[in-house]
């Protein structure tokens, strides 16, 4: 397969600047089970990068290992030229890296507004609560009800919105459209464009590459805990067939 070396494929991106997030030879384990076998990837400032791959190939594990949610890991992760491998978990967010988990992580014992206000602001430049309520009027309407009373789509928006408040410069976003109705998927797509226009970088895990094609600048494809392909959005049409096979669509 062409361009299987992610490093060389990534070289023309970012106009010669160093990547904002640089992952090299990242390995991770669940107990004895070796889940990542040396993952390389780059996200340049302002980019939306999508991680594709079949179920169980290690996409979530990659995000969790980058964030430090999996402690049994090896390799190198640099965010803005600074290694975050040895930072305690609560210091990682403070470097400007936000995380939205696959299961969304809305807290049942917190109201919608408490969920929104929970993540501490880590840097200037985040959205204000007014701006967020302006974009998501239904969150304002339901702000006193328990977070988990929201619909799946609203929970996903809340999960993203609360990270926007914190002023992080990059978001790791795990399957935001999973299990959502097409209209809601549409809204999430709009939302990701807003993020992009604010200059936020996004590392997105997404099964639906047609959805991802509309917002992503660059793609990585994973299989069995390894990167097997890397290409830019311009190359997507030429890859569609190969991807359909690789992803088993």
């Amino acid at each position: 397969m062409a361009g299987t070396d992610p490093v060389s494929a990534a070289a023309p991106r970012g106009a010669g600047k160093a990547a904002q997030l640089q992952v090299r030879n990242l390995e991770a384990w669940y107990g004895e089970s070796h889940a990542l076998h040396g993952v390389d990837l780059d996200v340049f400032a302002g980019e939306t990068v999508t991680l594709l791959g079949r179920n169980g190939v290690g996409k979530t594990t990659t995000l969790r290992a980058i964030m430090g949610l999996i402690r049994k890991r090896r390799g190198e992760v640099e965010f803005e030229q600074r290694s975050i491998m040895r930072l305690p978990l609560h210091r990682v967010a403070r470097t400007g890296l936000g995380f939205v988990p696959e299961e969304r992580g809305i807290f049942a014992s917190l109201s919608v507004e408490e969920n929104l206000m929970l993540p501490p602001v880590v840097a200037k430049g985040g959205m204000s609560v007014e701006e967020i309520y302006g974009i998501f009027p239904n969150l304002l309407e339901r702000r006193t009800s328990p977070g988990t009373r929201l619909s799946g789509g609203e929970q996903q928006m809340l999960a993203i919105a609360r990270i926007l408040r914190t002023g992080v410069r990059m978001i790791l976003l795990d399957e935001p459209t999973e299990g959502l109705a097409p209209v809601i998927v549409e809204r999430i797509g709009e939302m990701l464009k807003v993020l992009k226009s604010h200059g936020l970088s996004v590392l997105l895990v997404e099964q639906n590459f047609r959805f991802a094609a509309r917002i992503a600048d660059h793609f990585y494809v994973m299989d069995h805990g390894r990167m097997i392909d890397s290409f830019s959005v311009a190359d997507l049409p030429a890859r569609t067939e190969a991807l359909n096979t690789a992803l088993g669509v």
Binding site: M67, G68, L69, P88, L89, H90, R91, V92, A93, R94, F99, P101, G105, F107, A108, S109, L110, E114, M117, L118, P119, P120, V122, T166
Partner: protein, 295 residues
Amino acid sequence: MTMIFGVPLPALMGQLLVGLINGSFYALLSLGLAVIFGLLRVINFAHGAFYMLGAFAAWMLLAYAGIGYWGALVLAPLIVGVAGMAIERLMLRRLYGLDHLYGLLFTFGLALLLEGTFRHFFGTSGQPYAAPEALRGATNLGFMVLPNYRGWVVAASLVICLGTWAVIEKTSIGAYLRAATENATLVQAFGVNVPVLLTVTYGFGCALAGIAGVLAAPVFQVSPLMGSNLIIVVFAVVVIGGMGSILGAIVTGYMLGIVEGLCKVFYPEAANIVVFVIMAIVLLLRPAGLFGKDS
């Protein structure tokens, strides 16, 4: 004389008051246990020892430093809280990754160690501790005579319990605590220093036991075993209310104190076991406890 179900009113009221006093201690102690268990998933068997430590801190502050009741009411819980934080930081923390049984065994051993140490220096006979000047005497309420100090204990424990509940349910610090109780790892990934939150929470739970100890000092005597006598009932209270439920711990604490008091009037033979009978029934019908969520 007014009679209710064949019992003179003052006798009934007297036992109700005793029940309410005991309930105040049950509520304060089970509240601390519930807060600690909710976040740390540690069944704090040392809770009775921290209660004893609070009472002894008050007694020693008076005996060795001349600091009276009101000073002790502030200082003793602080001392107990700091001791709790040190223990969490230096020892308990190492057990988080392991089976819950280790936390239970560790705190049980800690309780034995603390109680044994105090027994070595003070013996098993209690030390008297006088109620403060301002709260001596009694007030005639018409239907009964209320010793002022006992009224104070009930009022103080109510204020502390409700205040704690309000902080947990209504403030942003409380939101961190609730969220971390649900998913501590995610809260830490958001940038909250969860290890410090755990330390402070354990210290706070222990400080609540310390306050209960100071409040108890003038009611019971200050003795090394005062905690282990009480804590068994308190564990039953926590099981009945539902592990980890804040409001459940408070309400069940008062409720069972009152039930125990009433039992002394109507069927004294059962007064000592009624809490455990209720626990057995609750466990059969609602294993998660009266206020617990099934999970």
